[in-house]
Symmetry: C2
Subunit: 378 residues, 2 copies
Amino acid sequence: MTNVSVVGRGITKFGKKKDSIKSMLIDACKDALVEADRPRVDAVFVGNFASGSLANQEILGSIVTNELGLGNVPSIKMEGACASGGLAFRQAYQLVKAGEYDNVLVAGAEKMTGFDTETVTKAINHAMDNESNESASGLTFPGFFGVLANRYIHEYGAKKEHLAMVALKNREYAINNPIAQFTTPVELEEILNAKPITDPLGLFDCSPISDGAAAVMIQRGANGVEILSSGQASGTPLMQEVDDLLHMSATYSSGKRAYEAAGIGPEDVDVVEVHDCFSMTEIIAIEELGFFEKGKGWEALENGLTKHGGLVPVNTSGGLLSKGHPIGATGIAQIIQIVDQLNGSAANQVENPKIGLAQNLGGTGAYSTVHLLRRKGA
Amino acid sequence: MTNVSVVGRGITKFGKKKDSIKSMLIDACKDALVEADRPRVDAVFVGNFASGSLANQEILGSIVTNELGLGNVPSIKMEGACASGGLAFRQAYQLVKAGEYDNVLVAGAEKMTGFDTETVTKAINHAMDNESNESASGLTFPGFFGVLANRYIHEYGAKKEHLAMVALKNREYAINNPIAQFTTPVELEEILNAKPITDPLGLFDCSPISDGAAAVMIQRGANGVEILSSGQASGTPLMQEVDDLLHMSATYSSGKRAYEAAGIGPEDVDVVEVHDCFSMTEIIAIEELGFFEKGKGWEALENGLTKHGGLVPVNTSGGLLSKGHPIGATGIAQIIQIVDQLNGSAANQVENPKIGLAQNLGGTGAYSTVHLLRRKGA
């Protein structure tokens, strides 16, 4: 069995930034390279979703490789909507595990601010199947997850307050994360009375438009936090085709595959980052990943089971909701938070965690990746 | 040593098409699946460059997987400018070789017609480093390759006629290829007197704007044309950084890696597809890949060495110049032509070829992939 580890990390502050996608990528990659003690890099993988439509820039793989002076090593950009970062990380892990490469630099980035609402909404909607009547109906991502939240509330007896508890918890975590986009304290009441976006989702239930980049160095060997396994699954990009609106099959299957490959279960996991593009999505994710029974996620929130002192702390980085969601960077930023937790150096450090999980979602369940990581030497 | 083979092919006609990128992808993939005898597919990789900016559509991996009813298998889109198809093919090959998957469906597609010239030029220019002064100077891809052609002519004594010979040869091959975009016979005189694009390149020296899709099924085992090796390299995306304008280092290095991994050399190759985005690029490629000495490629054209009866037939498909260049599809279409040649069923069939080579370039040398393939049982 080949060990594969994360041996370097780099991340920019998330939020509204003046920097270009290229400069953010370079900043994050340089830090990851330095922390990894500048090994010879064998390949560069970049996760990104919308740089063509928003930043007028493709070929990010080659640009990063060239700008960092890494020589003529293979490079590539990977896309899978909001799961682009997780997908790039997975490919790198698989190829290092296979012995194709010893050191792969994996970065993710997005430049999303500075555009009018129509431009950025149109770019985000490229993550739908735009030949479908669903897209033609005017559905957007907040619309989709609003429908899902209404159904969840109807089906399982949750209240809008439980969605707000997700937003509140993640904001409280973000306050301690120096790279987070939103660090102003809020009260539950403020979240509940915020500007409505798509009923029942208000402003705090929706992840923001963000700029940012993140990078990690993946290495053959046991010199860092170990990557135990990777699970990936696709799902339908169409809401109308889903058998059960409250079952995100890609999340479930990617988790199942990662657990099976690592030979462990959710009960072994000590700290978790899930894809809370909306508050509702976090509740669905903690159910699909087996931390709580289906329809019981909201009760876990009510009982404080997903924060420090509970069953398993979720999104201690502040999550997409408050840390920010520069699409391509998100999957890598999740990995970094888990690595930090397992190294004992995280914002909102959990006590002595041994195993962590990161889940990255694309579209309305079109993609999901799950990675399990283990503390060095644990 | 694990054998990896190409066991199914699908390709649409290239050119100006009414079909969407989704429908073209599905058409090509269905044919590849049927020809491969509908194996259980373990993953789907799609090579594409500009679907976000031109077709308002990302998540092509998930869309194809879902539309074909392949279940929740991993899927992803890969981007590396005009080498996107070659990159997707390489990833699939590496992961099948590593035992991660048994069957991977690899497709490539682009929808480029139906836009005004400014829109499509802007999208294609996403393959430059747009933060550089080079891009700000107004340089476009025909501009870059025009400069290169002038330098080549100055340095090595070639004439504009030798560029025209590339265009003529590839048109003559395209006439017999049912999927080719341009099949009208032309004369050398017509090519030389065509509308100038960037001196010395005329209309026939430049690959066209095309729609199209191509797909192959890659399988563990020896049931088809065998993939011997894969080489990939990055290069600078900036012309001003190149040490020698006439040395495309990504092409050279990707070739070197593929030859070394297969334990063979250019003298063992019987049929070749190279990335002739411009007539000049074909001449550079056949030199960098070791078929002819540096500065002697034009003489090979003059002496008919790159067609039937010569040393090694190049671009028997008609090449990008006359078969067409739907960017993401190109790398896969090249593989299909080599597979057809090695199966003895190609348009412009070469006599009894044993080994073939396909080279796919991105940007002005930002990416290159080289794949070596061997006839089944050879």
